[in-house]
């Protein structure tokens, strides 16, 4: 017991590192995928759709062990399990996050894009100043949920020897011949202790955003109503 708790806490710390590292990668890469997917040039957008589909339809554990084997050979130097873990988890979830971004981007009314053209913003300015500031806030809660999902996915990386909590528990059991019930229960408890408060935070954020959108963006519905009125006066 004296050894188990510190081992699990070290595992938790590694889990947190892997989660946030992979989440940052997934957020950045997912955004790039989402934007490239909208490119007008077919030979940019179509491969993006394939890539996203490929990543989503193959198991994370397969991607992770493949990268664990292939990446060091590809770049000719050894990589830590944490590095490969962050890369594989981040890449995998970038495909999901790109879909989240996509729904946010599609929620921005067409008129916003047209106003950006009419005011002559460059493509980069259009994305950074006009589209993304409107597309991302509504999907922040969904992104928060993915952060929690990714946190719970980290034990998969045990397959590439990442020293997270489940591996720590296994090692403990193997070296002390102890029964598995207590160590595994503790692992579950540790996950619960982090995941549950986090999900409450996400729910709080969601409620906040809904209230904000109710005032700041709510008049879009009013516009739609007056547009119907407007058409009748033609």
């Amino acid at each position: 017991m004296n050894e188990l708790i510190p081992a699990l806490l070290r595992g938790l710390w590694i889990t947190v590192q892997a989660t946030f590292g992979a989440f940052a990668l997934a957020c950045a890469l997912g955004l790039i995928l989402a934007i490239l997917r909208r490119a007008r040039i077919k030979w940019v957008s179509v491969p993006m759709v394939w890539l996203i589909e490929f990543i989503r339809t193959t198991p994370l554990v397969v991607q992770a062990v493949f990268m664990w084997m292939a990446l060091p050979r590809l770049i000719g130097m050894p990589l830590s399990a944490l590095t490969v873990g962050i890369l594989s988890l981040g890449l995998h979830y970038s495909a999901y996050l790109s879909e989240v971004y996509r729904s946010g981007i599609e929620g921005v009314p067409r008129g916003q894009w047209e106003a950006a053209v009419a005011l002559n913003f460059s493509p980069a300015q259009k994305w950074l100043r006009i589209i993304l500031p409107q597309a991302i806030p509504p999907v922040l809660p969904v992104m928060g949920n993915y952060l929690i999902v990714m946190f719970k996915e980290v034990p998969v990386l045990m397959a590439i020897t990442l020293g997270e909590m489940l591996l720590a528990a296994n090692s403990y059991i193997a070296s002390t011949f102890a029964d598995g019930i207590v160590p595994y229960s503790l692992v579950a408890l540790f996950f619960l202790a982090v995941s549950y408060p986090s999900s409450l935070l996400v729910r709080l954020m969601e409620r906040r955003l809904n209230r904000q959108r109710g005032t700041q963006y709510g008049n879009r519905i009013r516009n739609r109503r007056s547009r119907i009125r407007g058409e009748r006066t033609v």
Binding site: Q112, A115, N120, T215, S226
Partner: protein, 279 residues
């Protein structure tokens, strides 16, 4: 698409008219959306400073005309010239080819547009809505842009709303901000695309008053796509009547509204009057 059409020297076409070079020139413009052809060959010259009102039934293609000029839609065939240069084309080795983004960016700086649904940026204050483009696009210094923006907001009577957000404004106020936002870019041509159609009737007047004031300044070339006949009569130098994708009739408002020649225009105006009387 007229990708391999031979270039026509612009100087020659301007000389044909012998007088002032048009600010905007639509030549045999066609536009299809899939099977549907909404513009079926439109020729239209707009002189510098001229105020042209475009009227016509819904689906006549009048809004598309403005959208082509703002580069929001690409013509299926035909050319548009702005200030003596092709808008959607550029010359390359003596051939007219589709304009690249750089050319479009340069040409767009001459054109501004006010939309039916305002399209203000909901995440920015009123002041930032107006200053964002001058700062980012024209690389104007912030204090200079703010000074200019407040001048424009004052012109449309909304300088006191500078720190509000669009959602806190009425439709009429939003549209006046949208006008200030377009004006601050100092375009040579301004497109007003049914700017009062989405407004409650009691808010139409304040927006039209602002546009009339801008029109009275004289210098700006205006394309006014509108349902407001009285407004067209008061502001426009020339009225274009479009139906089924073609210009059916055009002339000074005094004649168009009192002695329409074509049957289409007569019935269009007749229906409009009947509706007005009924309201």
């Amino acid at each position: 698409m007229s990708m391999h059409m031979h270039a026509v020297p612009l100087a020659e076409t301007a000389a044909e008219r012998g007088s002032v070079r048009p600010m905007v020139r639509f030549r045999n413009i066609r536009k299809s959306f899939g099977e549907l052809e909404v513009l079926k060959g439109v020729d239209l010259d707009i002189l510098p400073g001229e105020k042209v009102a475009v009227i016509g039934p819904s689906g006549s293609g009048k809004t598309t005309l403005g959208r082509l000029l703002m580069t929001l839609e690409e013509p299926t065939s035909g050319t548009i010239e702005v200030d003596g240069e092709y808008l959607w084309h550029m010359e390359k080795r003596g051939k007219l080819v589709r304009a690249d983004e750089k050319h479009l960016h340069r040409m767009r700086s001459k054109i501004g547009m006010v939309f039916q649904h305002f399209n203000l940026f909901p995440h920015m204050t009123i002041l930032r809505n107006v200053t964002e483009a001058p700062i980012r696009v024209l690389r104007m210094r912030r204090n200079e842009a703010e000074r200019l923006a407040l001048e424009m907001l004052d012109k449309v009577g909304l300088a006191d709303k500078r720190d509000n957000y669009p959602s806190q404004l009425s439709g009429g106020e939003k549209q006046r901000v949208a006008i200030a936002r377009a004006l601050v870019m100092k375009p040579q041509v301004m497109i007003f695309d049914e700017v009062t159609s989405a407004l409650d009737p009691e808010l139409v007047g304040e927006v039209l008053a602002v546009i009339k004031e801008i029109a009275a300044d004289g210098k700006m070339t205006m394309l006014l796509i509108t349902h407001e006949m009285e407004f067209a009569r008061d502001v426009a130098d020339r009225v274009i009547f479009i139906a089924d994708g073609r210009i059916v009739e055009q002339g000074p408002p005094s004649r168009i509204f009192t002695q329409p020649e074509s049957e289409r225009l007569q019935s269009f105006l007749g229906r409009f009057r009947a509706y007005r009387a009924g309201r």
